[in-house]
Subunit: 238 residues, 2 copies
DNA sequence: ACCTGAACACCGTTCAAGT
DNA sequence: ACCTGAACACCGTTCAAGT
């Protein structure tokens, strides 16, 4: 432990080491405990040393996002655009599941970082090669929104509860709403329990994140496919 | 100015006044300048006085979200669920455009606040009344994600650039990418300009947020309608 | 009993003093 | 020229001392 820190202190600091240490820290302790001071300590370095390699904390966050996006698998060629896009997005999703802090970080930044742009560019390339007009491709990218990067904006998101602090009890996976709320919001109570009793194959889980993500993704992809086959244009009379 | 502050100081503090002042401050100065200390000063009050009415800053944010959600128009009855849902979501969108900080605030909170729950509950109610199974309604709510509250998670979002600080130049509405980036990301450059030259009726704007939002919303609603008419169930073989 | 100033434990970042 | 400790201008929140 102290030995490790000693070894690290010997290795000269560079941007890459800082970014990877920051990602690891955010993964383990939660994004809220990622401070310049904490990060420096983790690296066995005085806080000011970081500023030689990153301009400020915002630039650090941009760099962390680029690290994460770089982990997404490269495109695997397929006959049709739909499978290519679908596979890549699901790969992005796997990556983001390893970095629960990333969605919020991505959303809070303005994010014209190189790795993200490269990722988006290749996605558009796939659509264009699949016969999409630039016009339709544009709107499709907007419609997919953050789902392109593997996450959808959920209204209730357990996953970003915090870091892996073991202090709170494990908490059974949300069996519907608490009784008081269920009475006031009957429709929510109903659909909460609907998902529970729904399918025996989905055990306990309450609500299968992966299923919900793919449901929405396929809903969009199917709709998009239909538009593309119809030769949709935004000039079409509305 | 000093007079106004004087008048405010006389009016006794209460939760409502605090929340509305906080919303106004975030609207005008940006969420990043909403601190307990700033807010107290705005109200002509010592910082500690706030803690009599809100437990802490997180609870303040929850309250602010509730204020915003309460501004969404009530449901207007319609023959079909699709119009009801569509209208209400577009109303939510108008509200959120007045409070550019709200999307990020909503995402960063865990957000089981009363007003939000009531809003979601009535939305589910509309679907159920429209003939949706509890099962399908559940997945639909997930698929819509944050769009239900009137915003979609855009990857590039100018709107949350900051408060209305007039210091920076107005900046022409993004005419595609800067030349250097355009060379490295040709497909992005193409779809950026595609939207520009696309339709003479959309002047200058570059990219019409409202259009993109409705495009995605209708894509989802149409797909959802199709599933509902087919009697879709999650038990169906995949 | 209520209110509030000072204090605590943090931030990100600047800057001048040390080597 | 480089590095870094101390300092600055902030946070949210606690707490004890004042009324």
């Amino acid at each position: 432990m102290a030995e490790q820190a000693e070894v690290l202190r010997r290795t000269p600091l560079n941007r890459g080491r800082i970014l990877h240490a920051a990602v690891a820290l955010a993964d383990e302790a939660g994004i809220e405990s990622l401070s310049m001071r904490n990060l420096a300590q983790e690296l066995g370095v005085v806080p000011m040393a970081l500023y030689k390699h990153v301009a400020n904390k915002d630039e650090l966050l941009d760099g962390m996002i680029d690290v994460v996006v770089s982990e997404i698998d490269p495109l695997v060629p397929h006959a049709d655009w739909k499978h290519m896009v679908r596979e890549r997005i699901l790969s992005a999703r796997q990556v983001l599941r390893r970095h629960p802090w990333a969605p919020l970080a991505i959303e809070s930044r303005n994010m014209a970082t190189p790795a993200v742009l490269a990722y988006l560019d290749s996605m558009v390339g796939t659509l264009r090669a699949g016969g999409f007009s630039a016009d339709l491709a544009h709107h499709v990218m907007h419609a997919m929104g953050s789902r392109i990067l593997g996450f959808s904006q959920e209204l209730f998101d357990d996953s970003r509860r915090a870091g892996r602090s073991g202090t709170t009890a494990p908490e059974p996976p949300s069996e519907g709403l608490p009784p008081a709320a269920a009475a006031r919001f009957p429709h929510l109570a109903e659909i909460a329990t609907a998902a529970l009793h729904d399918d025996a194959s989905v055990v306990g889980q309450g609500c299968d994140d992966q299923f919900e993500f793919e449901f929405a993704l396929d809903l969009l992809l199917d709709g998009i496919e239909r538009l593309q086959q119809q030769g949709w244009t935004s000039r079409r009379p509305r």
